[in-house]
C-alpha cells in the first residue's frame, strides 16, 4: 500500500513538472527583458532550436527561439522578417553579462506578434 502510494506520488510529481524544466533556461535570467534592434541574421528554422541575430547598439545578440516546428507554428518563418528590419524581442537573457544571448518568447516585427512560447509571456 505504502509502495503504491509512493509510486502514485512519484508519477504525479513527474506528470506535473512544468515543461519549463526542459533545458531549465538554467543559464538565463528568470525575468523577462526586452530588446529592440536590427536583424543581422534572419530566422533559421534548423537545428534543435530556431535562431536569429539582432544587433542592438553595435552589439550582436544571439537569439534562441523555440524548436523549428513550434517557431513555424507561431507563424515565424525564415522569410517572415527581412535582413535589416527593426524587431523587438522579449525573453530571458543570459546570466553572464558579456554573453549576449537571449531565449526569446516573443518577437514583434512591423506590428505583428510572433509568440513562440505563448505560455512563458
Amino acid at each position: 500500500m505504502t509502495v503504491r502510494m509512493l509510486l502514485l506520488a512519484a508519477l504525479f510529481a513527474a506528470a506535473t513538472t512544468p515543461v519549463l524544466a526542459h533545458h531549465g533556461w538554467g543559464g538565463n535570467e528568470e525575468k523577462i527583458t526586452e530588446l529592440t534592434g536590427t536583424v543581422v541574421k534572419p530566422v533559421s528554422l534548423a537545428g534543435p532550436h530556431a535562431t536569429m541575430q539582432v544587433k542592438v547598439a553595435n552589439v550582436v545578440w544571439d537569439i534562441t527561439l523555440a524548436p523549428p516546428p513550434r517557431t513555424s507554428a507561431a507563424g515565424l518563418r525564415e522569410n517572415s522578417i527581412p535582413m535589416g528590419a527593426t524587431v523587438t524581442v522579449r525573453g530571458n537573457r543570459s546570466l553572464e553579462a558579456d554573453h549576449h544571448e537571449m531565449k526569446v518568447v516573443l518577437v514583434v516585427h512591423n506590428g505583428k506578434r510572433y509568440a513562440v512560447y505563448p505560455d512563458r509571456l
Binding site: 534548423a46 537545428g47 534543435p48
Partner: protein, 164 residues
C-alpha cells in the same frame, strides 16, 4: 585555424545544407533515430557487460555475446550516422561546446576498448565457447567495467552538450 575551417566546411557541406533546408521536422526526426541508436547500444552493452562482470552465470557467454555485439554495433552505427548530420546542421555553433568534444573523445576511447577486447585471446576463447581461466574472466570483466563507465560518461556528456 584548421579546426574552425573544418567546422565551417562541415556546416557549408551539402549535408549541412540539406539538414537546414529540408523542413522544420528534419532535425527532430534525425535526433529521434540518434536516441534509438543510443538505446540499442546501451541496452545491449548493459546485458553483455553485466554478464561479463558476473551476473547470470547460467547463461552461456557465447550465446549472449553474439546477439549483444550485433545489436550494439547496429546501435552505434545508427548513432554515428545520425550524429554527423546533426553536428553539420550548425557545426560552428558547437565550436566551444566542451561537453560535445569531451563526448567525442569518450566515444573514441570506448571504441578503442571494444577493439582491444575483440583482439584479446580471452574474447576469442569465449566466442569459441571455450571454458575461461580466472585471468581471462578478469580480462573480460575489466573491459566490461571500462565499457559501462565510458559509454555512460559519453551519454552524459552528449546530453549536457544540449544544455551548454
Amino acid at each position: 585555424m584548421v579546426f574552425h575551417d573544418f567546422l565551417q566546411w562541415l556546416e557549408g557541406s551539402p549535408l549541412g545544407h540539406a539538414m537546414r533546408s529540408s523542413g522544420v521536422w528534419t532535425y527532430a526526426i534525425v535526433n529521434l533515430f540518434h536516441i534509438v541508436g543510443i538505446a540499442l547500444l546501451f541496452g545491449a552493452i548493459m546485458l553483455l557487460d553485466l554478464r561479463l562482470l558476473g551476473a547470470w552465470r547460467s547463461v552461456p557467454l557465447a550465446s549472449l555475446s553474439r546477439p549483444a555485439v550485433t545489436v550494439a554495433g547496429a546501435g552505434v552505427t545508427l548513432a554515428v550516422l545520425t550524429g554527423i548530420p546533426m553536428f553539420a546542421t550548425k557545426a560552428t555553433d558547437y565550436a566551444d561546446n566542451t561537453f560535445l568534444f569531451l563526448k567525442f573523445a569518450l566515444v573514441g576511447l570506448a571504441l578503442l576498448n571494444v577493439l582491444a577486447l575483440h583482439r584479446s585471446p580471452a574474447w576469442r576463447a569465449q566466442a569459441a565457447g571455450q571454458a575461461l581461466s580466472v585471468i581471462q574472466e578478469r580480462r573480460l570483466a575489466l573491459a566490461a567495467g571500462c565499457s559501462l563507465v565510458l559509454w555512460f560518461s559519453a551519454i552524459t556528456c552528449g546530453r549536457l552538450a544540449g544544455y551548454w
